[in-house]
Amino acid sequence: MRTFSKKGVTRTQIVAAIIVVVIIIVAGTMLATRHAPTTPPPTTTTPPSTPTTTSTSSTTTTSRAVSNTTLSIDDYYWPIDNLNELYAEQFVPWPDWLEGAVYQTLVAVNLSAEQNYGKLQFLPDLATGWNTSTNGEVYTFYLRHNVTFSDGNPFNAYDVWTEFYFWYYLTGNSTTFWNGLNIFNTSNVNVGPATFALINQSGLSNPSPQLLSIMGNTNLPAYVTGPYAIVFHLAVPFPFFVNTFTGFEGMIFDPMYVLQHGGPGQPGSINSYFNTNPIPGTGPYTVTSVQMDEYVEFQQNPNYWAKSLTPSQIAANPILDPGHYKTIIVYFKSSDTTRYIDLTTGKVQLAAVTSSDFQLILNNPSYGYAVIKYPADMVSLDFNNNIFPTNVTDVRLAIVHAINYTQVIDQAVFGYGKRVMGPETPNYGQFYDPGNYPPYSYNLTEAKQYLAEAGFPGGKGLPPLTLEVDALGTSWETPAAEIIQQDLAQIGITVNIQVVPDSVFYSPFGSYQTNLQDASQIPPLSFNAVDGYAPDYLAPTDFWTSFVTNMSPWGNWGAYNNPTVDSAVLFMDHSNNLSAIMQKLTVAQGVIYNQAPYDWLFAAQLPLIDGSYAYNKQTISGFYMDPNLVGVTDLPILNTITPA
């Protein structure tokens, strides 16, 4: 029964043979057409220089060479809202891969000073100079001549004007449309679709007289005084206005392109054409190919205005770097394993590697990774300051002294966390911790004391506290939460960890008012964000307002509020008397220190909190990170990536 027929080939055998042959042909073709890896796998002959690599480029004088090879990168997150820069007033696309490479700002941050020395310095970019009036309310920017967008349209003040009012229009005419700040008087603003239609007709290279009079109207918060000069008239003397140009809404794109391709759309339904056809910018690269949720291809822009910068000029203002690769491709790969495999097999030269495989990178001296020496990405354990028992100050103080911070930082983020005393981060000089209070110490005796003083000796009488963890951040949040759970158990507090989907986590949050209203829905303990809270723009007012005042539009999860703090921050927003500001802030800092509304755990030094961008040191020597310290993008600034 089990013998094959000896009568020759049967039909079954023929069919089987055909199948086998087909499989061989297909397999053979594929093996033949597979691409060889672009770089050989790493050898171990490179002597390890320093165990950790900072984001400096060691190429201040060398490497002006442009490699003709392609740089391939694996990133872990496809930009939210794709590549449509019109969403910038919603603080997306995030991560904005196009920052620096495609889009430039009026004012540039000196990346070297910021990321190597912790100094905030603003340099000319698309604006060659600027000045402020004595009362601090009028800012004039002088724009660079002879700059064109990559589509050929010229860059001038009219473009900046148009884009400014795009933001106003797209937020539905909100007074706080500029980075959420209440600094403009918008009552006279009547710029909308009608004006845009006019602009579309007349063009911005040589606007019609009618359009010129509209754009020069000095009653508006922003008006032009010539083709290369634009004036911003604030309603209050906000001292950090120049800083607000480094982030999302400050990225300059070609508004004519927008108008010629269907316009911006409407607030609530932005024109989706630009999702995959990014608006042209003035930067050293252009986007040449987009496959949604897969990859974006960049090519060097041959008409880049700063393409002939000398190496020392680039070193002085690194974000203007014309780039060191002809082509750059950024791939989206959601699985960390595949990104790691791609990096180690040489398919990509730079990859986002997190937690699980990051340990392998740490152990391997041939790989470098980005570390942010002066981080601004704040990670905190948030208290609900309005419901029992976390509304009791001594309970909070007990908790902040019961946590073994070193263990949390070592276990959750590989030791790459800088202890801070918030609400500000260390990179703003004197605005960080005025009063010099130390970060909360790990001191069990003190913790138990506070708890007893609160009336709960040994934790008796306290209900179990829920610690809410966002499902998207479990790789570092869960170990951190578990350590905190055990630490608090030592002083008698029971913690229940609850992992919730990202959208559920954020649903009760919003402005201070919303958080206060929703206080019963906000858990007693939670982490402030999956990847920390990084600046959307570089002014110290950002964190001070967002975390601890009643003017917070976002970020004050625990709905904390204190009149001393409020008035200090308000004063900071509207005055340019620096010493007076610092005096008030010092007092406010003291109040915050004693009330512990939030437990600032650390500022994350790895751009991905528990992971970073890893690269083979034989192929890449260095790069700079986002001037907004991962607030706008955590991917390295593409045009600053330098080959080894």
Binding site: S335, D336, T337, Y340, I341, T354, S355, S356, D357, Q359, L360, Q411, V469, A471, T474, S475, T478, P479, A481, E482, I483, Q485, Q486, N496, I497, Q498, V499, P501, V504
Partner: protein, 286 residues
């Protein structure tokens, strides 16, 4: 003599061939472990599965820690055993519920016919069209993560195939002479449904159910993988795989072992079910 009969039949069933024996051993091990663990709690385990740093973090399997340790130094072996009761409870409950409630519903609908039958068919169709995973996800998201919530969610959508099975049998049997004679002799409807329709279908249902328990284990693991079954730090097999899948290069045992356990248990039910079916068919002489 008569007492031993059912036991003897049972023994014959489970020792039908090698595969059945293997399947039964796996299932028995799984069930026994779950029961013992459910009763004994964490105390009977070599280490408390929740306690951190009982061993060096990320250590591979060794004599002290047969399954190795996790990122925070927990003993994986203890965690696996601790997670067993969840899978056992959920899978047996869901299938038991589907078996009894679904089976009876289908038998009744098939026997009675008419509108009840139509209604049942439409309901089962609708539930059939929604993948179990998505519905389970939604319900678990609303109610929060817990094995009990998942149990409830899965039970709701798991019964249709059983109803369909018994319904088609009921349709076939309803017109048979012995049912007609039962009706004539005055036996009540429900009794007929139970004794004359449900019972004959039992053996087919049993085979299906045994195979199905394995499927529930897999689906529950899938939901657990998505984080809908437990909250940290409590262990659950699917969740463990999800937590450590990205460590597959650095510490492969952390995800391969829980996944392997899921696989072995599901395979055990599969083998057992196949074997029982073979045994029953052999008994009938085809």
């Amino acid at each position: 003599m008569k007492m031993w009969q059912p036991l003897k039949s049972f023994w014959r069933l489970i020792t039908y061939n090698l595969e059945t024996k293997v399947g039964f051993s796996i299932v028995a091990l799984f069930v026994l472990t779950s029961i013992i663990e459910a009763i004994g709690g964490y105390r009977i385990l070599p280490y408390n599965p929740l306690k951190t740093f009982v061993g060096k973090p990320f250590s591979p399997p060794s004599v002290l820690h047969p399954f190795g340790t996790t990122k925070l130094g927990r003993d994986l072996f203890s965690m696996i055993i601790a997670g067993a009761p969840n899978d056992a409870l959920v899978s047996f409950f869901v299938v038991g519920f589907s078996f009894s409630v679904g089976g009876l519903l289908g038998a009744a609908a098939g026997y009675v016919g008419g509108i009840l039958d139509e209604l049942l068919m439409r309901i089962t169709d609708t539930f059939f069209a929604i993948p179990a995973l998505i519905l389970g996800m939604a319900i678990a998201m609303i109610l929060g993560p817990s094995p009990y919530h998942l149990m409830f969610a899965l039970a709701i959508i798991w019964w249709p195939p059983y109803a369909r099975l018994t319904r088609s049998e009921a349709l076939r049997l309803a017109n048979m002479p012995f049912v007609a004679s039962a009706k004539l002799s005055g036996i009540s409807g429900p009794r007929i449904v139970l004794r004359h329709i449900f019972v004959p279908v039992l053996s087919t249902l049993l085979v299906y159910a045994t195979l199905d328990i394995g499927t529930v284990v897999l689906t529950y693991s899938g939901l657990s993988y998505l984080g809908l079954a437990v909250r940290p730090p409590y262990p659950d097999w699917g969740y463990l795989v999800a937590q450590y899948q990205e460590y597959i290069i650095y510490a492969p045992w952390l995800s391969l072992i829980p996944a392997g356990v899921i696989m072995v248990v599901a395979a055990g039910f599969s083998l057992l079910g196949d074997g029982i079916r073979g045994a029953i068919q052999a008994e009938r002489g085809r």
